[in-house]
Each structure stands twice: as structure tokens, then as C-alpha cells.
């Protein structure tokens, strides 16, 4: 008989917030009315989301050739949902596809940061700082944008600490609800690999995982609904008329080197839940909102030997909200005939250009000023046509 009390008491300790809840820096929301009504939600998809699986091209038979079984989701997960004549959404993104059909969501495909290597850390740092090299720029581009905006409550990150994206001189805060996720499924998978050559730790870890599964603890996924709950919190803060106007969400678990079909399905379902929670939580403010979900790089076009894909280059960015010029897949589709370094989707759009164009359009700023102030280290011409005018 498995003694479940040990789990119960441990998780109760966390639930009481004894451990980490007190760490949350409760944002002191200024009472002065914010000077802008527009809302920006930035979702960092850490681990490299496979853009070709999230938003597959419909008429490119090279995909199936290179990916084989992984080119389409397994039948039991449902069929891809057609977005345009040329692109579909993964079946787990049904909600997003609905927003797309209603003109409240869009995609920018074959997009990448200026980074062309394949380290997660370096790539995420460049995504967040818009530097021209990893760790070269100390503050986040979104923080550098803040002084250009009318007075407002500090931008808020829904995490225990500020991501690099929001670090810098301008005031920003982080807010974590008392219940942060338990160790993520991704971390547990990697820990298992880490212990493979260590007989003692390997045995202990196998036992621990087996016990956890028998006890029915939430050993799988990042705790169901955790991301959606964070999104709901973000929406609640943003919906407040005197609350912050910018929120950042962090979502890990995209590094699908193995068992991609199932894992990516879980990830995309969670992301779909995030969009839904934002829309419902923001209420009327949704019409004045832009959501950007972006990842540090894409994944190889070909499947690897473990039912997954490896680190690649270009991916897709997902946009949503009432302010997005929706119902479109933006960008130039490079096709899969010619691949970057013979392995990755060729980048044809710049993430920095998307970010600059999107925030300039959303907040009514001069795009050149935005590029100069926030993207000076790796400037790109601000993308146009992203924001509904």
C-alpha cells in the first residue's frame, strides 16, 4: 500500500504558500489611471516550439517525405484544422483556430531571431534581450520599450522572478500565485537521463517515478491547467483599469527530442488553454489586446531516431487578440525544398522586426523610434500589417 500522506503533506505545504508563495512580489498596482488602454501579453515558449507541427503547411509534400509519421499528428488526436489554403493548425490548437477564423488570431511563419546557433540558453537570451550576441545586452527589449509608453503600472511577469525580457532600469515586477508547478515533466525526463550512468541514483529515481505514478500524483505534464491558471491571473491583472498593461508568461516544455507526437499535443493544448483564458479573463479589454507567443528557435524538419525533432532554426510565432490583423499567415513561406544548413526551416522573417512592428502598432509609437530604443543592437525594419488599424 502506498502511503500517500507524504505527498499530501508535501503538496499541502506548498499549497499553503509556506514555501514559495511568500516569495511572490505582490505587484503594488498604482492607482493612477494608465495612459494607454492597449494590452500586450508576451508568452515565451521555452525549449523551441516546433513551428512545422504547430502550423503545418498544407501543400508541401516534402514535409511528409522528411518527417515520415511525425508529419501529421496521430489520427486519434484529430485532424489538423485548416486555417488558410496553405496552412493548418495542429488539432490541439482548436481554440486558436477558432480565433483565427474570427479574425482574432494570426501566424507569422518561418520566423527567427538573428541567432543562428542551436543553444537554448543563448537563443532565449537573444530573444529576450534582442542583443547581437548571447549575454551581450543586459536588459530586456521589453524593458527598454517601457519608457516610451505613457505612465502605467509596472509591467508584470507571471513567474517567481523577472525573465530577462523584463529586466532593466524601468520598473517591472513579477507575480507568482502561491501554487507554482511541481517539477515539470520535462525536468523529470532530463533528470532520468542524467542518472542513467549512476546505478544508485538511477535506481532511486526509477522507484520515485514509479511511486509517484502509483500514488496518482500529477507526475505528468506541467500540472494540468497550471499555464491556463497563470494566464487567468495575468488576464485579471490586465483587465483592471488601473492595472498593468503588459504581462509576460513563461511556458517551458517545448524541447521535444523524443515522443514528440504526444508531448507536443499536451504542450499545444496548454497553449490553446492560455489563449482561451486570456480572452475570457480580459473580457472587454480583449478587443484592445495583442498576444504574442514566440520561441527561441524551431526544430529540424526531419524527424530524429527517437520520435522527435532536434534543435532547428525558423519556427512560427502565434498572435492573438482584438488588435491583431487576424485571419492571416504573415511572412514569406520559403518552402521545404531548400533548407537552412540542409536541415532547418529557412528563416524569412525576423522576430525583432515582428516585435518592433507589433508594439509600435499596438501602442501607437513611431516604429523607427522603437527600433532605435529597444532593438538597437540587432535592428530590423519594423514589420507592418500586424496590427489592425
Amino acid at each position: 500500500m502506498i502511503d500517500r500522506t507524504v505527498f499530501v503533506s508535501r503538496r499541502n505545504l506548498l499549497a499553503r504558500g509556506a514555501f514559495i508563495g511568500g516569495l511572490a512580489l505582490h505587484p503594488r498596482l498604482a492607482l493612477a489611471a494608465a495612459g494607454t488602454d492597449a494590452r500586450l501579453v508576451f508568452i515565451i515558449l521555452r525549449g523551441a516550439m516546433d513551428g512545422l507541427a504547430a502550423i503545418p503547411p498544407l501543400n508541401d509534400n516534402r514535409l511528409e517525405k522528411l518527417r515520415g509519421q511525425l508529419a501529421a499528428p496521430p489520427a486519434q488526436l484529430g485532424a489538423p484544422i485548416k486555417l488558410t489554403a496553405d496552412f493548418a493548425a495542429h488539432p490541439a490548437l482548436a481554440g486558436f483556430a477558432g480565433l483565427f477564423a474570427a479574425g482574432e488570431a494570426a501566424v507569422v511563419h518561418a520566423i527567427a531571431s538573428p541567432y543562428r546557433e542551436r543553444s537554448h540558453f543563448d537563443a532565449q537570451n537573444i530573444l529576450e534581450t534582442a542583443g547581437n550576441a548571447a549575454y551581450a545586452v543586459k536588459d530586456g527589449w521589453l524593458n527598454r520599450l517601457l519608457p516610451l509608453l505613457p505612465a502605467q503600472s509596472p509591467a508584470v511577469a507571471l513567474s517567481a522572478t523577472l525573465p530577462a525580457l523584463l529586466q532593466g532600469a524601468a520598473p517591472a515586477t513579477s507575480f507568482a500565485p502561491s501554487r507554482l508547478p511541481d517539477a515539470s515533466a520535462g525536468l523529470k525526463v532530463r533528470v532520468a537521463a542524467l542518472y542513467e550512468a549512476d546505478p544508485l541514483l538511477h535506481r532511486l529515481w526509477s522507484d520515485a517515478i514509479a511511486t509517484e505514478m502509483m500514488a496518482g500524483a500529477s507526475g505528468s505534464a506541467d500540472g494540468p491547467g497550471n499555464s491556463a491558471a497563470l494566464a487567468a491571473t495575468a488576464a485579471r491583472l490586465l483587465a483592471d483599469a488601473s492595472g498593468p498593461r503588459i504581462a509576460v508568461l513563461d511556458m517551458g516544455g517545448w524541447d521535444t527530442h523524443a515522443g514528440q507526437a504526444q508531448r507536443l499535443n499536451n504542450q499545444l493544448r496548454q497553449l490553446d488553454g492560455v489563449f482561451a483564458a486570456l480572452k475570457s479573463g480580459l473580457g472587454a479589454a480583449w478587443s484592445n489586446t495583442l498576444v504574442i507567443a514566440a520561441t527561441e528557435f524551431g526544430r529540424t524538419v526531419a524527424a530524429n531516431g527517437t520520435g522527435g525533432t532536434d534543435h532547428g532554426t525558423a519556427s512560427a510565432a502565434l498572435l492573438a487578440g482584438g488588435r491583431v490583423a487576424g485571419g492571416k499567415v504573415h511572412g514569406d513561406w520559403p518552402g521545404l525544398d531548400r533548407l537552412f544548413q540542409d536541415r532547418d526551416l529557412m528563416p524569412t522573417s525576423s522576430l525583432n522586426a515582428l516585435f518592433a512592428g507589433a508594439v509600435a502598432g499596438l501602442f501607437g509609437l513611431d516604429p523607427e523610434l522603437v527600433v532605435r530604443r529597444a532593438f538597437a543592437a540587432a535592428p530590423a525594419k519594423a514589420m507592418t500589417g500586424i496590427i489592425r488599424t
Binding site: H120, A208, G252
Partner: protein, 458 residues
């Protein structure tokens, strides 16, 4: 922290920097204040009528009915609050010295001796005595003679209360005779608890003493008490928490312990026994083995233990001689990563690795409980076990992984690749290094570093 070029010199040199009474301890209430608090707690318990304590002459009339219940609840709440505050501050001070003090090896030895002389804070009398015992009796004594350390610990209110010594009365003492004459309802008597644990845990070890030794030492210890609790006639008043010898509670006559007879001499009788026990060859063997197990390996090389014991005896029980013997032994350096870190070790090393989390230490206090090793609460005078089997367990490992995941999230997005090379010089394996570099985010890489096989061991 690159590996020092002269590790032996680096470790032994720390004793020059070690501060037995650093500033971080100066504001903490000590054993005297905690004794007073204990006394007040007892009085309050009698007043509200919980704990079944007999009323003492001079106590106010106990409360009755619903008023008493409300009062009892209020009192219990206040007591818990006061406990949390005092205990939390003590553990935070201990953590601060371990994490950022100039002499981490000396701090490790403080913790080793605190565990050797373990008390547990799950008793009302010792709820807040863990810190005072370690800070007042152990810290100042880790570089001197073991006999002095033993004496300081035994005389401290923390140990006296924990092992029920403060009210141990010799059956032939003046006080006991007087009680018999007036046919008192409670006849005072001997308590053997402290005597037994001194023989079994602090000095000779199980199997190397007899019940007669226990009785002898217990009789010699009668009258060793703590100020603040003298209500009996024939007692010498003394300030709260201060060691006091009560001649009229002391058992007259000579005693025999470990084959040697000790003539009567009041407090000096037990002092002489403790002194001899401290330099007994069995004690030397036992201390050497325990310390080698702590520093070198779960099953330390017997030749090393023998050399350590010899050095200790040759020096007349000098702890520095014991430390030098192990630090300078080639066997001590032959097997890196032989020890699986206890939750305490792991927590301290995590805090040192991630200074950026700026974690308020109170969270570390709770974390230690979550990881299974709440400070000063081993639950028994034997202290925490010091081997892999006790700490390397499936659930414990899972907890470390969960904690690592959360802490790494707090540490921000520093590059874990550089951190790994810095923290594990010479021991970082290629496989771990690659796993950290392949993590999907800096936070995940940092979490992997904190739970990798090399970091879980020392």
C-alpha cells in the same frame, strides 16, 4: 571557487579565521533567556490547566470553564508564534554562518559536533535550545580539548533539560532524606538518562559500558542542575539558565565508572569522570570513526581511523590533532564524491551556488524540513545518521528535484554552463556537462546542475 592548490592548508588555515562568536549571534537570546521562557511556559501551562502539571505553591488560581479554554488557545498560539520566531532566527543565523562565513570547514565541524551532542527541539523544555547549545557550548569548543567540549555541553541547559538531568536527586542526598522523613507525596530520585547517553553516545559507545557504569555516573552527576527551577528547600538559588551545583541534592559516596573509582568531591567527582571518559581509548576510536565517516566515506578505512585515534590520544584529547590527522591523511583525498550530501549539506551548497536567489533564509528553514532534515530536530539524542543509506531515498530525491526546479526558477537566467564548471572543478563529468548544456532553458540547466550526481555528493 576553483579547487585550492593546497587543500590541506586551505582547510586547516580556516581555524585562524573561525569566529566562535560572530556578530550574527550577538542579537539572539541565549540559553538563559530560553530557560526563563521555558519557566514562564510551565507557569502558563499550570495556569490554563493543560499538560496536567501539578500546581506549585504561589501559583495563581487556575482558570475554569470556557474562559480557561480561550485562554489556553491564546496561550498555545502565542507559544507557537514565539517558538517559530526564536527557532527561525537561530536557524537563519546558522545558515548565514555556513553560507557566507569565512571558515566553512570549521562550520562543518560545528555541525558535526552539534549532531554528536544532539538534542531535539520537539520537547517543550528544549524547543528553542538547539541554537543556544550549539552557539554557546559547541562553537567555542571545537578547537580545544574534547573533554572541555563535553563538559561545556553537559553543563548547558539545553542538554540538561533534554536528558532530564536538572532534577536528578541522589537517593542518599540531604534533600531525599528530608523528603523521606516528611513522607512527601513525590519522592525525589535519580535520573539516569544523561549518564547513559554520555556513555553510549558521547563517549565510549554502545557495548562498551555496563549498567553499573551508568548508575555510577548518574550518582556522580546528581546535583548538577540549572538555575531558575529551585523551589525545593535545601537548594541554592541561581540565575535562570546558569549551571549550578546543588550540594544538598548530590549523592554522597564514591562511585566506579569504567573500572575506575572516584572518591567523593562534590561537582568535581563527575568532572573527573568526564575528563577520563574523554581520553579513554574507546572514546578516541569512536570519535575518530565518526569523524572519518563524516568527512571521508561511509565505511572509512580502518587504518585511517586507527591513526586518527592515536593522534588524538597522544595529544591528550586535542581536537585539532584529530582534525590534522584526517586532513593530512592520503586516504581522505583518495575518493572524491564518496559522501552523499545530507539535506543540510545540500541546502547550504545550493545557497552558496545560487547567491542571486537572495532567498530569505526563512524559506531555507522550511526547505530543510521539506527535505527531511529540520535543523536540531533529529528526534533522538543519537542525532542524524551520517551515511548514504539514510539520505539517498526515492522520495527524498524527488523532493530535491522539485526544490531544485523551483529554486532554479528563482535564480534568474544566469548561464548554468559556466556555473557548473565553477562549482564542480575537477569532478564535473562530460555527461553532466552535456546534459546541462542541452537543457531547454537556463533555469532547467541550473536545476539539473543542482541535482546532478556530482552535486548531490561531496
Amino acid at each position: 571557487m576553483a579547487a585550492p592548490a593546497d587543500p590541506q592548508g586551505w582547510l586547516l588555515g580556516q581555524f585562524d579565521q573561525f569566529d566562535p562568536r560572530p556578530a550574527v549571534l550577538s542579537g539572539l537570546p541565549g540559553g538563559a533567556a530560553m530557560t526563563l521562557q521555558y519557566r514562564q511556559n510551565l507557569a502558563a501551562l499550570r495556569r490554563v490547566g493543560i499538560g496536567g502539571l501539578p500546581r506549585q505553591p504561589g501559583d495563581p488560581e487556575p482558570l475554569k470553564g470556557p474562559e480557561a479554554e480561550a485562554e489556553a488557545n491564546r496561550y498555545q498560539q502565542e507559544r507557537r508564534q514565539a517558538f517559530r520566531q526564536a527557532y527561525g532566527a537561530q536557524v537563519q543565523a546558522r545558515l548565514a554562518m555556513a553560507i557566507s562565513g569565512p571558515a566553512p570547514f570549521a562550520e562543518r565541524l560545528v555541525h558535526f559536533w552539534a549532531n554528536h551532542f544532539a538534542i531535539s527541539t520537539d520537547k517543550l523544555a528544549t524547543a528553542t535550545m538547539g541554537g543556544p547549545l550549539e552557539f554557546e557550548a559547541i562553537r567555542p569548543g571545537i578547537t580545544g580539548r574534547f573533554g572541555s567540549l563535553l563538559l561545556a555541553v553537559v553543563r548547558h541547559p539545553g542538554m540538561m533539560f533534554y536528558l532530564d538531568q536538572a532534577q536528578s536527586i541522589g537517593p542518599g542526598s540531604l534533600l531525599a532524606q528530608a523528603a523521606r522523613r516528611r513522607n512527601a507525596p513525590r519522592q525525589p530520585g535519580l535520573n539516569e538518562n544523561l549518564a547513559r547517553e554520555i556513555l553510549e553516545l558521547h563517549t565510549l559507545g554502545a557495548g562498551h559500558y555496563t549498567q553499573a557504569d551508568v548508575g555510577g555516573l548518574a550518582r556522580a552527576l546528581t546535583g548538577w542542575s540549572i538555575g531558575g527551577f529551585v523551589r525545593r528547600p535545601l537548594g541554592v538559588p541561581a540565575p535562570d539558565g546558569e549551571f549550578v551545583f546543588q550540594p544538598n541534592w548530590h549523592e554522597p559516596g564514591s562511585v566506579t565508572v569504567a573500572g575506575k573509582t572516584y572518591a567523593q568531591g562534590g561537582a568535581a567527582q563527575a568532572e573527573a569522570i568526564l575528563n577520563d571518559l574523554a581520553t579513554h581509548p574507546r572514546t578516541a576510536q569512536r570519535l575518530a570513526e565518526k569523524l572519518a565517516r563524516h568527512l571521508v566515506a561511509d565505511v572509512p578505512p580502518p587504518a585511517l581511523v586507527a591513526r586518527m585515534a592515536q593522534a588524538y590520544l597522544a595529544s591528550g584529547g586535542d581536537l585539532m590533532a584529530l582534525y590534522r590527522a584526517v586532513v593530512n591523511a592520503p586516504e581522505a583525498w583518495a575518493q572524491p564524491l564518496a559522501k552523499f550530501k545530507t539535506p543540510w549539506d545540500w541546502t547550504v551548497s545550493v545557497a552558496r551556488a545560487l547567491p542571486k536567489t537572495n532567498m530569505p533564509d526563512l524559506r531555507l528553514v522550511l526547505m530543510l524540513a521539506e527535505l527531511g532534515q529540520p535543523v536540531w530536530r533529529p528526534g533522538s539524542p543519537a542525532g542524524w545518521p551520517d551515511d548514504t543509506a539514510r539520505w539517498a531515498a526515492p522520495d527524498a530525491l524527488m523532493r530535491r528535484v522539485e526544490v531544485a526546479g523551483r529554486l532554479a526558477g528563482l535564480a534568474g537566467g544566469g548561464d548554468p554552463r559556466g556555473l557548473a564548471a565553477k562549482l564542480l572543478p575537477g569532478t564535473l563529468s562530460a555527461a553532466t556537462s552535456a546534459a546541462i548544456a542541452r537543457a531547454e532553458s537556463p533555469a532547467e540547466g541550473t536545476a539539473l546542475l543542482l541535482v546532478c550526481p556530482e552535486f548531490l555528493r561531496r
